[in-house]
């Protein structure tokens, strides 16, 4: 491949890889928080049926734990957005 072809092809390939990477990063990154937060919510519902008078405390704790479990999903979102923005600047 001569240098001119490489100069034309390289930016397009980088952009294509960034778009594919953004989709894969956000998609696979969303699996974990989705299942994890569901597990937390399920345990909170079980807890309310055992001790209904503590439902406020259980719901508050559930939301806090969900927020912590969510952080990895937010990291995925940030990386996907960075990939898309960087691809747009090529």
């Amino acid at each position: 491949m001569d240098l001119d072809t490489v100069n034309v092809l390289a930016p397009a390939i980088i952009k294509a890889a960034a778009y594919l990477g953004a989709g894969v990063a956000m998609g696979i990154g969303a699996i974990g928080p989705g299942i994890g937060e569901g597990y937390i919510g399920g345990k909170a519902c079980e807890g309310i049926s055992r001790r209904p008078e503590q439902s406020g405390l259980l719901t508050r704790t559930m939301v806090l734990a969900d927020a912590i479990s969510e952080t990895t999903g937010v990291y995925s979102l940030i990386i996907a957005l960075i990939l898309i923005i960087m691809a747009g600047r090529i």
């Binding site: 594919l20 953004a22 939301v63």
Partner: protein, 161 residues
């Protein structure tokens, strides 16, 4: 950007839409099936509460279904949208499908676990049903947020493509 034959855009669109809907359907179906199974167990234990259990089951399954509906929407947008015939667009289409598809795996399963536990809880203590339903809807909504992020990334990729 490098122009390609429109034929390849079609190939990428079909691949992306298939991956999106195929993966997205798995999570929602597992979650709803798990909920349904636990509700059948619960009704077996408390036949008198079958009305409220059925209502809560349908509500929980409808929320768990959203990830499947997101996947359907993105797949239809990929199939019927008009996209420029350039190399990055091909991979943007596949990436958009993978994003919502994989996300549906997690959020559908997670939302199903919540509604299954809520129904088992209602069967154990039927008088807590309002509290259980509130916590179930809140928990399911939070477990869907990553699915919303993935939907947003898919839409951005489709718009840029």
């Amino acid at each position: 950007m490098v122009a390609v034959d429109p034929f390849y855009v079609q190939v990428a669109a079909y691949t992306g839409a298939a991956l999106c809907m195929g993966l997205g359907a798995v999570g929602a179906a597992i979650g709803e099936g798990y909920t349904g199974g636990r509700v059948v167990e619960s009704i077996n234990r408390q036949p008198a509460e079958s009305g409220i259990l059925l209502r809560t089951m349908v509500l929980g399954q409808a929320i768990a279904e959203t990830s499947g509906i997101f996947a359907l929407i993105v797949a239809i947008m990929i199939l019927f949208g008009s996209f420029s015939a350039t190399l990055p667009t091909l991979f943007a289409l596949i990436g958009a499908g993978l994003s919502t598809g994989f996300a549906g795996l997690g959020t559908g399963t997670g939302a199903g676990i919540v509604s299954a536990a809520a129904n088992a809880g209602i069967a154990r203590q039927p008088e807590t049903a309002p509290k259980e339903t509130f916590t179930m809807v809140l928990g399911q909504a939070i477990s869907q947020t990553t699915g919303m992020y993935a939907l947003g990334i898919s839409l951005i990729l489709l718009i840029l493509g």
